[in-house]
């Protein structure tokens, strides 16, 4: 995410993977919550921009957002017991992402 030159293959897959890991380990995902949220936030700032004709880029951004949503999905399920305390600071990010889509 650090760089905007994109490798299209794995990033969405890695984000999905975060979601799967989160679902698997439940509340223990807390340890990684901070860094993963940061990554997801960075990922959500990537957009196809005004390049109308660049279908490859548009497709990539769509799959990336799918990955972001999968990750949020897993994290919310994982932390549902504790979500009252943890989701509050992040709620606005999720809302922001939803807006941009």
């Amino acid at each position: 995410m650090q760089s905007s030159t994109l490798s299209q293959t794995y990033k969405p897959a890695i984000l999905q993977c975060f979601g799967d890991i989160a679902q698997a380990i439940g509340g223990n995902f807390e340890t990684y919550l901070g860094v993963v949220m940061q990554v997801l936030q960075q990922a959500s700032t990537i957009s196809a921009g005004n390049t109308d004709k660049n279908y490859e880029m548009i497709e990539y951004v769509l799959s990336l957002r799918e990955g972001i949503m999968d990750a949020y999905d897993g994290i919310v399920i994982a932390l549902k017991d504790k979500s009252k305390c943890y989701s509050r600071p992040h709620r606005s990010y999720v809302g922001m992402n939803a807006d941009s889509i």
């Binding site: 995410m1 905007s4 299209q8 794995y10 990033k11 897959a13 993977c17 799967d20 890991i21």
Partner: protein
């Protein structure tokens, strides 16, 4: 293989023993190959055997359990012996993925032996194909064994986050990830 009827499952189970036998034989052959030709033939053979085994595992699902020990032993043997540049690990990872899906919780016992290979694959960005397979495999394993994945999570997360940073340098526009 995937569409075989319930009544033929015994045949398939028998077939799986034959395939595992063959796979075990290829492991010992690996030390004997000298020429390039032999090596290619052997790799082709291992890849094909591994994909047949993958289909069998998907069809038999939980019924594969009695064979699982032998399968994993053969697969790990091949992984140890083959260089990461060959295509064999790709096929092996696919088979391991289907085994993880089939065994669910019971796959945990193999994690200690298998995770080093997974880490190597995750850390090796030069082998894009293998790396993306490994990422899919982490997902599969996490879904299968649930909470038991916890001891391996630290390493997984480190490798994944690292991949996110590193792989921006490698352009892979023309490859698409295929979940296994």
């Amino acid at each position: 293989m995937m569409n075989v009827g319930q009544d033929q499952l015994a045949t398939i189970a028998h077939l799986s023993t034959v395939i595992i036998d063959r796979l075990e034989k290829t492991v010992s052959m690996q030390n004997q190959v000298v020429s390039m030709d032999d090596k290619n033939t052997l790799e082709e053979m291992q890849t094909s055997l591994a994909s047949v085994l993958m289909s069998i595992i998907q069809r038999l699902d939980k019924e594969i359990k009695p064979q699982a020990d032998r399968i994993m032993q053969a697969l790990l043997g091949i992984l140890t012996a083959s260089p990461s540049s060959s295509i064999v690990p790709d096929a092996i990872f696919g088979t391991v993925g289907s085994l993880a899906n089939a065994l669910e919780q019971d796959f945990t016992v193999y994690m200690d032996a298998f995770s080093p290979f997974l880490y190597t694959a995750l850390g090796n960005e030069q082998e894009q194909q293998l790396c993306s397979l490994a990422i899919g495999l982490v997902s599969d394993i996490a879904r299968s064994i649930g909470e038991q994945v916890l001891p391996y999570c630290d390493s997984f997360m480190n490798f994944l986050l690292n991949n996110l940073k590193v792989n921006s340098c490698y352009e892979t526009r023309h490859k698409r990830f295929q979940p296994c």
